[in-house]
Amino acid sequence: MPPVIDTRQALDFERPIVELENRIAELKSLGGPQLEIEIRRLERKARQLQREVFSELSAWQKVLLSRHPLRPFTLDYVGRLCEDWIELHGDRAFRDDESIVGGVARFRGRPVMILGHQKGRGTKENMRRNFGMTRPEGYRKALRLMKMASRLGLPILTFIDTPGAYPGIDAEERGQAEAIAKNLEVMSRLPVPIIATVIGEGGSGGALALGVADRILMLEYSVYSVISPEGCASILWKDQKKVETAAREMKMTAPDLLELGVADALVPEPAGGAHRDPEAAADAVGEAIARELSALSSLSPEARVEARYQKFRRMGSFLESGPGA
């Protein structure tokens, strides 16, 4: 059985399942052989209900899952996938932005550089981590560490989980646009393998700033989009209530991105989502990263950079008739 979840932290469409599970846990705690049959019946029911709900999730429901407060964040994966993790702080220019974490660690025996957006658990940590919304100094910390990794020959593993770059006065003053742009430019030329995994929310430019990679992996219920559904609804529909439509129209779920040729692979999540079994989710992520890393390691640095160039070069959809230039 998955861990018992506080119903207050459950999403609307999770609640009937969670309530059923909590009821089961209650019965189990009472014990007694006469309850066995009832427990087994309820367990079957819970599993069936979960299958039903999760087999037809809407794009918006997947957005909600990708933002689930209990969802594993970057450091949860780092803790499960790596040894010898040493976090490295700061951009050496302004300050340490805790909405991005970075550091060195050992992944399956191999030293790697890890970078990821980091959301907080609870209000206090979220304030400190600015809800995973990064300012220029955060992108510049990532840039510093990526350059270092490149110089020392460490593969780079990034974890993407951000609502987007922080839209604030200070961020603009310090060059938010330039900071993101610089990361795209530099990442596109780094000779070391880069694997990006979208573990939650892939929010626009702030996500892409860690996303110019040789491989882009997406968790089954992660999303990745040019703008948040809220932003899209407000600009195109001029109606905040159209978020569900916007989420659907933008084709932002993992299967959508696989089909559009942006994501390379989808990492299946445990039944009910990564937060129901973080251990299993981390195992699946680890397997997927290891597979890609071994494939990428067999290429020469030149071949990798060229393949990365061609990967993004192909993205887009247009028609061309007759001779070009």
């Binding site: 006065i169 989009s225 933008m250 959809s317």
Partner: protein, 291 residues
């Protein structure tokens, strides 16, 4: 060329950055957004779409922009056969396919970017212009492809690259593919820079969102027209986030110069000369020797 210019003057309706829209002079008189003067449109046009009273820079038609930027008659447009598609079959209040068709009809171009070869002070460049009149200059697959080709051509020809940016950002109607154009174009730019070739980015009003957060802010030299709105997040989004009014002049060219984000503010009247001199100073060795 003249035909599409007269057509697009009738109506300009940018899809993005609606709030930051500056009107193109139309009719006999034009009211200046800056000083409030009512001035004859003919005079505005003669002053390169600037207010004859206060010098305020209006958004100007792209076709005219091309003419005043490069050596006369030197612009040879490339990739004119690239047409946008509707990869997501996107529909808001209107279908994206219909929005594209009506923008094409109104503006007379296939999408929001025009690029090709030209000369500046006699020196060859690979140059491109955002067409802000076309869906707010938003960047989808066509714009991204053209910018990529502009950089690739600069690399192949070993000439400087120049882009005149005016865009609300990525085009939402092409979803993630629009976001990926940021990576695609910037990767092409990175190769150009690695090859020792210069790139000059010109920021016009407005340059925001995904265009700002990619090649627009990556110029070896970045120049901006006066009072252009330049930034990552739009002012409205920031105001909603921080729940307060933004200070006067925030995210304008002068603000960016002060914060070290652009190299210089250059008036429209001096732009061609400035670009020519930059090309001559920064361009490949053999050109410099010839100059």
């Amino acid at each position: 060329m003249a035909a599409w210019w007269s057509k697009q003057r009738k109506k300009m309706k940018p899809e993005v950055a609606a709030k930051t829209k500056r009107s193109v002079p139309s009719g006999l008189f034009q009211k200046c957004d800056e000083c409030g003067a009512t001035v004859p449109s003919e005079q505005v046009k003669e002053a390169l779409w600037c207010c004859p009273q206060c010098g305020h820079h209006f958004v100007m038609p792209t076709a005219e922009r091309i003419k005043i930027t490069v050596d006369e008659g030197s612009f040879v447009e490339a990739d004119v056969n690239i047409q946008p598609e509707d990869p997501l079959e996107f529909r808001d209040s209107k279908r994206y396919a219909d929005r594209l068709r009506s923008a094409q009809k109104q503006v007379g171009v296939a999408d929001a970017f025009r690029e090709g070869r030209a000369t500046l002070g006699g020196r060859p460049v690979s140059i491109g212009f955002f067409v802000f009149e076309f869906m707010g200059g938003s960047m989808g697959s066509v714009v991204g492809e053209k910018i990529t080709r502009l950089f690739e051509r600069a690399l192949a020809d070993r000439v400087p690259a120049i882009i005149l940016n005016a865009s609300g950002g990525a085009r939402m109607q092409e979803g993630i593919l629009s976001l990926m154009q940021m990576a695609k174009t910037t990767a092409a730019l990175a190769r150009l820079k690695e090859a020792g070739l210069p790139y000059v980015s010109v920021l016009l009003h407005p340059t925001t969102g995904g265009v700002a957060a990619s090649f627009a802010m990556l110029g070896d030299v970045i120049v901006a027209e006066p009072k252009a709105l330049i930034g990552f997040a739009g002012p409205r989004v920031i105001e909603q986030t921080i729940r307060q009014k933004l200070p006067e002049g925030f995210q304008r060219s002068e603000f960016l110069l002060q914060h070290g984000m652009v190299d210089a503010i250059v008036s429209r009247h001096d732009m061609k000369d400035t670009l020519s001199r930059l090309v001559s100073l920064l361009g490949p060795e053999k050109q410099r020797a010839r100059a």
